[in-house]
Structure formats: structure tokens, C-alpha cells
């Protein structure tokens, strides 16, 4: 894929991503694809850090606390996927400049199934083409969006064991290295 379309002049995104180098990036404009790639880099890095340095260390290696879907009731750590979603929801509360979500063709929670034809196409593409991203443009609610989809791969046994064993999971044969879903990033084209 890799559609190259237009330039983004979203100062908020540029500033958030590039820090002190934001000025030149904003002045030149930045391609949607690059912005989406950089956003994804931040998201996946933060999630990996949380998974390794907080959840894996405290829950699996040191065993001082568990991680649970019902983290409030269980007085436990937030699952890495939940942390990712809470971040996405906080972004949605604060800006319409971009949005992102963690989706799957086999979601435990049905609300994380694809809702648009392009989400369906993108999730299928990253599943069929390991190592590649998906980029496209779609119209939603009367507005045009640049949509990027990145593979979410089973990196730790905790990820795929939980999905394989969860009572609501529609797929139970995930293995390490499998694409379990995808991160979808949207930026309005204007």
C-alpha cells in the first residue's frame, strides 16, 4: 500500500512528536503516513515499556501484584491493552486531530471488532502480509480520514494465553509471533 497523500500541517501533532525539532517539521509539513508512523512508534514504545517494566516485572517476575481486567475490584495492575485503550480514550476526550484504537478480527470484546470496511480490509491485510503496514483513505461521518493499520503481534506468552483461554475469545489457537490484531490510527484530511 503506502498511499502518499497531501501534507499535514497539524502543529499539535508535530509539536507532540518532535519536541524541539517541531518547528522545522511543521514549517515543511509532514506526510500523513510519516505522522501516523511516528504516532505508532510512540504508542508501541510506551506500551512495550509498560508491559516489560511494570506488568512483566511486578506480576510475572516478582509476583508482588497481579494484572487484571477488573483492576479496580481486584486491586491489580491495568492490563497493557487496557492501558493502551485508556490512552486512546483520553486522546479522544482532548482532540479531534487524530484518533487511534486497538482492534482485532478476533476481539474478546465485540466493541473492538472492525466497524468500517477499511478497518476490516486493513486488519486482513496486516494479517496476510506480515511485516507490512496498511494505509488508506476513507470517508466517515461526512469527513475524509487518512487511516493507517499496524500489526499487533503476540510478543509474550501472557498475551496469547489469556486470549486463548478467555471465555469470550472467538479464537483459541494463537501462538507466539501471530498477528492478534492491529492498531488503527486516523488523521482527518483537511
Amino acid at each position: 500500500m503506502g498511499n502518499k497523500i497531501g501534507k499535514i500541517k497539524a502543529s499539535i501533532l508535530g509539536a507532540a512528536l518532535m519536541g524541539t525539532t517541531a518547528t522545522s517539521a511543521m514549517a515543511d509539513g509532514m506526510e500523513y503516513e510519516t505522522v501516523a508512523d511516528l504516532l505508532h512508534l510512540v504508542m508501541s514504545s510506551d506500551r512495550t515499556v509498560y508491559t516489560r517494566m511494570v506488568v512483566n516485572r511486578l506480576a510475572n517476575e516478582e509476583g508482588v501484584i497481579t494484572a487484571s481486567e477488573h483492576f479496580v475490584d481486584d486491586k491489580a495492575l491495568v492490563l497493557p491493552a487496557q492501558m493502551f485503550r485508556f490512552g486512546a480514550e483520553m486522546v479522544a476526550e482532548n482532540t479531534d486531530e487524530f484518533s487511534y484504537s486497538l482492534l482485532s478480527l478476533w476481539p474478546i470484546n465485540k466493541q473492538n471488532a472492525p466497524t468500517t470496511p477499511m478497518e476490516e480490509e486493513g486488519l486482513q491485510y496486516i494479517n496476510d502480509n506480515p511485516g507490512e503496514n496498511f494505509y488508506g483513505v476513507e470517508e466517515l461521518g461526512g469527513e475524509e480520514y487518512f487511516t493507517a493499520v499496524y500489526a499487533d503481534v503476540a510478543v509474550a506468552p501472557a498475551c496469547y494465553t489469556c486470549h486463548n483461554e478467555h471465555k469470550d475469545s472467538p479464537r483459541t489457537d494463537f501462538e507466539g509471533g501471530d498477528v492478534m490484531g492491529g492498531v488503527v490510527i486516523r488523521i482527518p484530511v483537511n
Binding site: 481486567e69 477488573h70 479496580v72 475490584d73 486512546a88 480514550e89 483520553m90 479522544a92 476526550e93 479531534d96 484518533s99 487511534y100 484504537s101 476481539p107 465485540k110 466493541q111 471488532a113 466497524t115 468500517t116 478497518e119 466517515l140 461521518g141 469527513e143 480520514y145 471465555k167 469470550d168 475469545s169 472467538p170 483459541t172 488503527v184 486516523r186 482527518p188
Partner: protein, 496 residues
């Protein structure tokens, strides 16, 4: 000629009427006649303070207006939405991937389901959608509950939110794993006591020797001395906490002379709020005290409104004219029982609601604050049946010393539940916080003594609620049974 004069009179009259109407809308003046329809529920208490909810500038677009109203809803309802772990928060519906749902029910805006001033279509919880509103999103595709849950395949959508199974916002006591965790428990626990209530009721009161000491140290003007009042105070938690007469009646005084000079016979409520901050905050979130909420808009001064409309330096004459004929009515600062829209006893009419309506400022009378005060006003069936209920009998048993602390159930146990954080116990003074819907009561109150199954069934039985829980539920909500079936018989619906 006559015809011309009549036309002129009609023109002047029309112009004047339009002017008065527009001035009332955009400048100042009583807007009672301009209300587009009766407000529902408790919003009538603030319906003339229009800017509490309507903050958009004149001629703003629909989307902007709806966004602005979202903000004003959250001004008052933020805490309860956060506490509810909202199942359908706005932030979930904002991303464009949810746009397909926007055409059915646009959950990005509070007003899609809660449209005020429309009494003809308003149901419980200020809902202005038809009772089967869940059908809009949960009847097709991946969200079709009839496909996802074998047990739900023959259910009508009008039953989702009315049968005690689901709520749109607050499902803390109803989500599937919670049902499983609390399944198969006896209806009444072995030790049916409310732990936080017990801790609160066991708080120490002054010993006899201490009371003597306190009474000897009373410092108040001679004209204000009263033996009965002093005896009440000396036996209260206030005396134990070193809250003296002057703490409330002359809070800034440091010497006896200053106490005498600055003595206030009837201190205002804000004196209470200086220490009881959480209680004051939650009181302003409930029906009894919402007029004190800091976000309720103030009357509009003519001068400021004219400036806002672009008249930077309005003449004194214009302001005086407007203030003479058009002035915003000052809303009563306190809710009065005369304005209540719930059944009240005739003798309660005219009462205003302040801290001292329920709490005597000197005497620590738990019985009155937790039961007597409520029953001196509320005349509905549920309230009036309380004194014949098993909960009341337990309370009497506890007061008599026959039952351990925390056994008794008062009005406040359920409607003003206590919370404990780092050893500090706070009473929620938003008496409505565990209602709308009543399943919100399950976790802070019912589960302290009862099983989840019993609590869900009891709260879903209106007759049992009316009798104030004298007896067993005549309804059974199958949610726990169905949840158990899903895990014990995977073919019944689990997706694997």
C-alpha cells in the same frame, strides 16, 4: 386617518413586545414565560438559572450548542459518571470509527438521550429515548446481543434497562464477572453488619469526667448561655474534637472579649463547611442542596449583559431603566419543601433545607439525623413503611444494645452511605447518589449484608421497595443464572 393610527399603534406595540422579549432573553429579566417546556426531575430547582446549562453564544450552531451542554452536564454529574466506571462514556463514541452509530443514537452528546424541557417523552432517569433504545446499537452485526448471548435470543429490547439487568452508565454491580464472583451465596450473610457504619457508630463519645471538664471551660457571652445546649454540646463529638462555642459563633475571635464582641447568634452553613468539606460538596450534588452548587449561574446584571452585547459604556439611565422593569429573579438559595415535587407530609411544608434541618447544631442525635429527619418530611409509601420494616427493627435492636454496631439499617445507611479512606469516614450527603437507578445501591450498601442475587431481585421488585423490604422478592432476575450457565456449559454461549 384612523386606520393609519391603528397601524402605527400596532407597529409600536409589536416592536415594544418584541423588544421586551428579546431583552429578557439576551439582557435580563424574568424568563419564566419563555421556558420551552417543564423541566424534569430536579432540574426545576435551577430552571430559571438558564445559563447553568445554556452557555453557548447567540446563534451558535447545533453541534456547538450540544457540545456546550455536554460540558454543563458534566459540571454537576462528573463525579458520579467517573465513579460509575461509565459503560458508555462520550469518549468511546467520539472517534470517527463510531460514525455509523451516530445516525441512530449519537452518544457523543448527553442530550441525545436526556433532552430537557420535554416532559411528554421523559421517563425515569430523565431519559427521553424510547424504552427499547438499546436496539439502536445492539441488534445487528458484532454487537447483536441475541447472537452473542444464547440466553438473550428471545428477549425484547425494552427489557434490557428495565428488568434490573443492565444500565446505560453504571453497571458496577451487574457486569458478568461480578455476577460470577458473587454467585451462590446465602441471601443473608452470617454476620450481617455494615462495616463502615459499625466503625462510625463505635466512634468514641466524651466520657462523663470529660463532659464535666468541657462544661467548666465553656466560654460564651452571658446572654447566649443555655444549660441544655451546653450539656448537648459537651456530650458531642464536637466537644471531643475541641470545637468550642466560639469555633462556630465567633470563628475569628481569639480572646474572650473578642468572642463577646463578634458573637453570631445563628452562624451560617459555611461555618459547618469549613470542617465538613466533603459533606458540603456532596450535599450540593443532591436534591436537598443542589441550589448551592457552585456552577449554578447567578442572576444577570444589566450592565454586564449590555457590555457583553457590545455596548461598552451603557448609560446609567439605560441600566436604571432595565433594572426598574427587567431584573432576573434571584433564586432562593435554599431548597424549600414547598417547592418539592415528591410526596411530603403537610406539616413539613415551608421547611428550608440547611445543615441544621437534619442536624441539631449542638446535640449529636444520630437517630434523628439518620431516620427522624427523613420521616418528618417524606410521605411516600417506601418512607412511611420504614418503621414497620425489618431494617428498622434491627436499628432499634442496635440502639437498645441488643445487636452489635452496624446491624441496624437506617434511611442514611442506604441513601447516604459512608465511605472510609485512610481511616477517615465520610457520609455521602448526596441522598440521590445510590439511586437513578437503584442498582447503584448494591455495592456500597446491600452487599454488606445480603447476597448479590437477593439484592438484584429485591431492588427489581417495586412492591418490595414500596413496603421497605418487608418480605422476600417476588421477582427473580436471571442474570446470575445465565452468567453461570455460560461458564459451566460453554456450548450455551461462550464463543469458544
Amino acid at each position: 386617518m384612523k386606520s393609519k393610527l391603528l397601524w402605527m399603534a400596532w407597529g409600536v406595540g409589536t416592536f415594544a413586545l418584541a423588544g421586551v422579549g428579546l431583552a429578557r432573553i439576551y439582557v435580563t429579566g424574568d424568563r419564566t414565560d419563555l421556558l420551552p417546556g417543564q423541566t424534569a426531575g430536579v432540574h426545576h430547582q435551577i430552571e430559571l438559572a438558564c445559563e447553568t446549562c445554556h452557555t453557548s453564544k447567540p446563534f451558535a450552531g447545533q453541534k456547538k450548542i450540544r457540545k456546550d451542554i455536554n460540558k454543563t452536564c458534566v459540571n454537576c454529574h462528573k463525579d458520579e459518571l467517573n465513579a460509575s466506571d461509565d459503560s458508555h462514556p462520550i469518549k468511546k463514541f467520539k472517534p470517527p470509527r463510531m460514525s455509523a452509530y451516530w445516525d441512530d443514537i449519537d452518544a457523543r452528546f448527553c442530550t441525545s438521550c436526556h433532552s430537557e424541557h420535554r416532559p411528554e417523552i421523559t421517563s425515569a432517569g430523565l431519559v427521553t429515548q424510547p424504552g427499547d433504545f438499546c436496539v439502536a446499537c445492539h441488534s445487528e452485526g458484532d454487537q447483536d446481543v441475541r447472537v452473542n448471548r444464547e440466553s438473550h435470543k428471545d428477549l425484547g429490547f425494552e427489557t434490557c434497562a428495565t428488568a434490573g439487568c443492565h444500565n446505560f452508565h453504571d453497571n458496577r454491580a451487574l457486569y458478568e464477572d461480578f455476577l460470577l464472583k458473587h454467585a451462590d451465596q446465602p441471601w443473608l450473610q452470617e454476620d450481617p453488619t455494615h462495616s463502615i457504619e459499625a466503625a462510625a457508630r463505635e466512634k468514641p463519645r466524651p466520657e462523663t469526667a470529660d463532659i464535666e471538664t468541657y462544661l467548666a471551660e465553656v466560654s460564651a457571652p452571658a446572654t447566649a448561655r443555655d444549660q441544655e445546649v451546653e450539656a448537648h454540646w459537651a456530650g458531642s463529638a464536637h466537644a471531643l474534637a475541641d470545637v468550642s462555642c466560639a469555633s462556630c459563633h465567633a470563628p475569628k475571635a481569639e480572646t474572650e472579649e473578642e468572642v463577646e464582641a463578634q458573637w453570631i447568634e445563628h452562624p451560617e452553613e459555611k461555618v459547618c463547611a469549613t470542617c465538613h468539606k466533603d459533606e458540603a460538596k456532596t450535599f450540593a450534588l443532591g436534591r436537598h442542596g443542589m441550589r448551592r452548587h457552585p456552577e449554578v449561574s447567578n442572576p444577570r446584571p444589566a450592565k454586564r449583559m449590555l457590555k457583553r452585547l457590545g455596548w461598552s459604556d451603557p448609560s446609567d439611565g439605560a441600566i436604571a431603566f432595565l433594572e426598574a422593569y427587567l431584573v432576573d429573579p434571584t433564586p432562593a438559595p435554599l431548597m424549600s419543601t414547598a417547592e418539592a415535587r415528591v410526596p411530603l407530609l403537610p406539616e413539613a411544608h415551608g421547611e428550608e433545607l440547611t445543615c441544621s434541618t437534619c442536624h441539631d447544631p449542638h446535640e449529636q442525635d444520630l437517630q434523628f439525623a439518620a431516620v427522624g429527619a427523613c420521616l418528618s418530611c417524606h410521605a411516600d409509601e417506601h418512607s412511611q413503611n420504614f418503621t414497620q420494616s425489618p431494617h428498622f427493627a434491627l436499628w432499634q435492636g442496635e440502639l437498645a444494645g441488643d445487636l452489635p454496631p452496624g446491624s441496624g439499617v437506617t434511611c442514611a445507611t442506604c441513601h447516604m452511605p459512608k465511605t472510609e479512606k485512610r481511616g477517615v469516614i465520610t457520609t455521602n450527603h448526596n441522598q440521590n447518589d445510590t439511586l437513578r437507578p437503584n442498582e447503584k445501591m448494591i455495592r456500597p450498601t446491600c452487599l454488606e449484608c445480603h447476597s448479590l442475587e437477593f439484592a438484584i431481585d429485591a431492588l427489581a421488585d417495586p412492591e418490595l421497595v414500596n413496603s421497605n423490604f418487608s418480605g422476600q422478592p417476588n421477582r427473580h432476575i436471571e442474570s446470575i443464572d445465565w452468567a453461570l450457565k455460560r461458564v459451566t456449559e460453554p456450548t450455551e454461549g461462550a464463543n469458544q
